[in-house]
Symmetry: C2
């Protein structure tokens, strides 16, 4: 390789190979694709990566990534200031935004409690969450963490942490995914779906 | 999405999603990964894409991509000038270079003849191949095209095109892939492997 591809191209391939979803082979394919689509893709990508590298920052209020601090969501006055949605990561925030489920603000924890991985309360954005939840304007904190052991442990930790505050702490409903088939669901989900059944 | 991720980030995601192997969802994951690894990955990638966008050119001699014209392979005086290896694409050139099968020079066709897709002889780098093969120093042209219908049609076309020249035209051997199991091979490959058997 070193003799056939120049060092510049080799470096691009090595960096692309470190993206999730790409390996050494697909990184080479991606690099060739970029070179073939020089005008439409390579040039614009160079600009886009540079702009993001120079300008994207983490919101000091909620932990979202954006080009402004506070981020566009925290600045958005049309959002309900009474509701905070607690998420594990920015990708979860994006998922909820795509679903457009609720016009509220977020708080990105940056992970979940995980004693096995050495992640304790001090490693997460929990202090800032307690601070934001203490704001009198906030009436509800929705915990939108993954339904995993670590996620649920973190949810209980947050509930305990906020219990002295006059805010309602809620969590996402468990149940049958929309479009899901009962036959393929685990027992825990089915029990939750039965227990939390709603009237038609 | 538009409201939650800024336009700069959205643009990066859209461009990443156009890379082969990445879709909209994995492009978002890749963008977040880049932002998390800002120092180690995002900054270097911005530089690497810019350098490649500015400096990579197609070699006017062989069709390889490199930062110099002629490319490093065409300039390499240690390579056998008597042998030309004809490949469909730069990725095939890279594959042969990785295998280090032969220390020769290449000629990238930029595709294969495909009447159904409207690819005729004028769409490929065939004229320049005839020119290079006419150089008295060249004694052999190895046709290293895919063993597909279009690849083999192109191979025959090249053989005809070069038959008035005093060069030997050869093609890659057909046979059992190294590490391959006979049980999984098609009949055509097995027949070729039997016919072209070699003495131990």
């Amino acid at each position: 390789m070193a003799s056939s591809t120049g060092p510049e191209l080799e470096r691009l391939i090595q960096l692309l190979a470190r993206l999730p979803g790409l390996g050494p082979r697909s990184a080479r394919r991606a690099a060739l694709h970029l070179i073939r689509k020089r005008e439409a893709l390579l040039g614009p990508l160079a600009d886009a990566v540079r702009v993001v590298a120079d300008r994207v920052v983490t919101c000091t209020t909620c932990g979202n990534v954006d080009t402004s601090v506070p981020c566009a969501i925290c600045q958005d006055t049309r959002r309900d200031p009474a509701v905070l949605i607690v998420v594990e990561s920015v990708s979860d925030l994006w998922a909820l935004e795509r679903a457009a489920a609720l016009n509220a603000r977020y708080h990105v924890l940056g992970g979940v409690l995980s004693p096995l991985d050495g992640v304790g309360p001090d490693d997460l954005n929990l202090a800032s969450l307690a601070e934001r939840a203490a704001d009198p304007v906030v009436t509800e904190v929705i915990i939108a963490l993954n339904a995993t052991v670590d996620g649920q442990t973190t949810a209980h930790f947050i509930t305990d942490m906020l219990q002295h505050l006059p805010v309602k702490v809620t969590r996402l409903a468990h149940g049958v995914p929309v479009g899901g088939e009962l036959d393929y669901l685990d027992e825990g989900t089915l029990v939750a779906a039965i227990r939390q059944r709603t009237t038609l």
